[in-house]
Symmetry: C2
Subunit: 491 residues, 2 copies
Amino acid sequence: MAKVKKTPRPRAETPKGFRDYFGAEVTERAEMLSRIAEVYHAWGFDALESSAVETVEALGKFLPDVDRPNEGVFAWQEDEDADWLALRYDLTAPLARVYAQHRNDLPTPYRRYAMGPVWRNEKPGPGRFRQFYQCDADTVGAATVAADAEVCAMLATALEAVGIPRGDYVVRINNRKVLNGVLEAMGLEDEGMRAAVLRTIDKFDKVGEAGVRELLGKGRRDASGAYIDGVGLSAAQADPVLAFLTARSDTTAATLARLRDAVGGSVVGAEGVSELEDMAALLEAQGFGPDRIVIDPSVVRGLGYYTGPVFEAELTFEITDEDGRPRQFGSVAGGGRYDDLVRRFTGQEMPATGVSIGVDRLLAALRAKGRVTGEALGPVVVTVMDRDRMADYQQMVAELRAAGIRAEAYLGSPKNFGNQMKYADRRGSPVAVIEGTEEKARGVVQIKDLILGARIAESASLEEWKDRPSQYEVPRGDLVSKVREILDRPG
Amino acid sequence: MAKVKKTPRPRAETPKGFRDYFGAEVTERAEMLSRIAEVYHAWGFDALESSAVETVEALGKFLPDVDRPNEGVFAWQEDEDADWLALRYDLTAPLARVYAQHRNDLPTPYRRYAMGPVWRNEKPGPGRFRQFYQCDADTVGAATVAADAEVCAMLATALEAVGIPRGDYVVRINNRKVLNGVLEAMGLEDEGMRAAVLRTIDKFDKVGEAGVRELLGKGRRDASGAYIDGVGLSAAQADPVLAFLTARSDTTAATLARLRDAVGGSVVGAEGVSELEDMAALLEAQGFGPDRIVIDPSVVRGLGYYTGPVFEAELTFEITDEDGRPRQFGSVAGGGRYDDLVRRFTGQEMPATGVSIGVDRLLAALRAKGRVTGEALGPVVVTVMDRDRMADYQQMVAELRAAGIRAEAYLGSPKNFGNQMKYADRRGSPVAVIEGTEEKARGVVQIKDLILGARIAESASLEEWKDRPSQYEVPRGDLVSKVREILDRPG
């Protein structure tokens, strides 16, 4: 037998750009997703969990026409004749594949929701990971804008269900066809020019109205001093584009009137305005007025990708950013109508519309609102004073659990009592229970209020400290009721 | 610009060995996992979600010492200098990595639970997929068998929490050290011989006592007629191994006495028996008697992998297999103590024990028990009789949802009413609501009880059919109460 080479110790590290999630990070996200799922389900959407692994061919964007088709995705090939496989990079591309594959067994329209991790083979950065969660709802096979309106209303309902109060968010709606109409009305037929205009208005969020006007015209010197060439439109040509971007008015009717002006005689433009009008009417009728869902043509994110209505949910409350400056929280969800995705597989038209919630951003928003804490309360820890009486300690734990109180016995080496208290501290335990030989003989237990104890330790005088008001001796029979009393103590 | 080559349509298929999960398949699994998580959490275990992607180095088993280190796992390398990455194949190897990486920030003992998909690059077969769920709980850093006993008791509690009643399952416990003691008592020092004995007793489930006796001796002719060479022990040498495997008796004390005999004077064997005795005592004290958790040395699965206690949860009720024959449901969870996994990274001893629940098998068991149906009730479908009155239909849907009733308006093309009813049927909708122009004028709605309707359609006479007892006309204001009445109808 060949001699086994001694392998060096492996490094205990996640791959670059990946991370682990602990305790409350996991349970708070699960709780939030479960509340969103409840809303989606109540609205008639069915759960779907597609496989994490897809063929590169099915994912689309990344066709195997180059040596390494894993640009942007994690991809591999089993052997030279095998299909390239990849981890899904979103939940929409798999939906198109699922619908095309199972369309004979699925209802049409097919309303589905999906939640789970997706993977991106991109340069990781601060707060940017290569595995993250998405939470999507889509309707495949419904051409009517009633489907788009439904998704927007459901999104607003889901935000409220997870704890974003009305007034703290707004869903803004735009429509790609209106922009197409504007370009048509301008007589801008050239595809390259149209694409350049699209790229430019995508910068509206960053450079504002004046910036977009410059960039549509001759060009603009940016903050770094570099000169950015413009699209080359005349001021008159740029006017309708700016009119479109800034069409939002006090009332829906006024906004729609301005958009109707901006698209001039364009048929597709009129269709876009009419779609927005229909959506607004349907939403109003369901009680989703402009305080919650509003037509706002300055929503330009995704206009290039989507084919009709586009929507974005924004949180409107202020947070303090890393530099201590107040700023609006910003976008937590986006979506729109994409009518071409299923056709890739089937060759047949198949309308689709949907929304994706940015799970991590929404969770951060809930933390900012104090709706979730990011910190879990640890279990009550029953310390082990006498190694041979483990059954006694387990009995206490069983009584506490039976009363609905999270509890455990210490299972490390019981020799050093200080280690047990350090353990309870690290777990965030609210209460420690102590029953030594002497307590056992007297039929009592010591109960330490660790949260109050920590507070006293921070601020107490020696006298207060000596009184040990955060530790109680109670009869063994009162264990559960005393622990319950401490846990229920306000503040 | 180069001419874009027209790409052929991609195939709409999951990769071989992968599948999608729809509706109730997703929600029932999520519900089951959430109940298990509640138990784990109440017992002091913290959630952990590690990344799905690990370095091949950290995963261990599959070291990059060959050209393609992806034997058994899905692995890839970004470029020649980069680390090989792989999808995790279980939740235990990542736990060892996580604990080694974060051990300075984690409490010790570290109790954690984890649930999620794992991936195996194996030949798929019927019911065997390359992505499947695991649900694990482990304690790292506790040397005491109190930790093993806790995991067994928690497993029993979790099974009851998801709907497996007491009496329908049993957790069976064994101990690797007892077997080591038996081999030591036999004077079997040779590693190769020991491994051969281990492999042989692993077949106990399949070939039974007589079969193992033959295989430990000269050999055995199997069902196909092929002759399998034996290990070559004498009958006297085989006796203690058989005594070990069949040591289970009516009482725990009797079983332990037989095991004590079987290990003779072996120190490690005595230690193993004493561990089993301690576990049984702790479990009895917590009310987990032999009706739920029993010492049974015939549990041999995993004896090769684990280093101390080994446990397996078996469901004891009968199901009917594919061939129509009754058989016991069998194993749904397994685990044990593995004290060497963290040491790979740190070089330091770190005891660990835990259990993994076979999520898909447990779900199948719940289906067999009728605890979950595998079929979701669809939403109430409000049909669209008049395209221009979508807001009216949405209003009905909103009223139903506000009453906690899952509901939706039909969003496909409303032209063909038959398609709407087909859709409701495919969704498994219990109720369809109809309000045409004529009903609107009279202030009423038609409510179809689709479940009762389907039942009548199967068995009704023409007369009964004509009476249409499954369709009701009610005032518009009674919509919600009538739907509620139908949904609450027993049977």
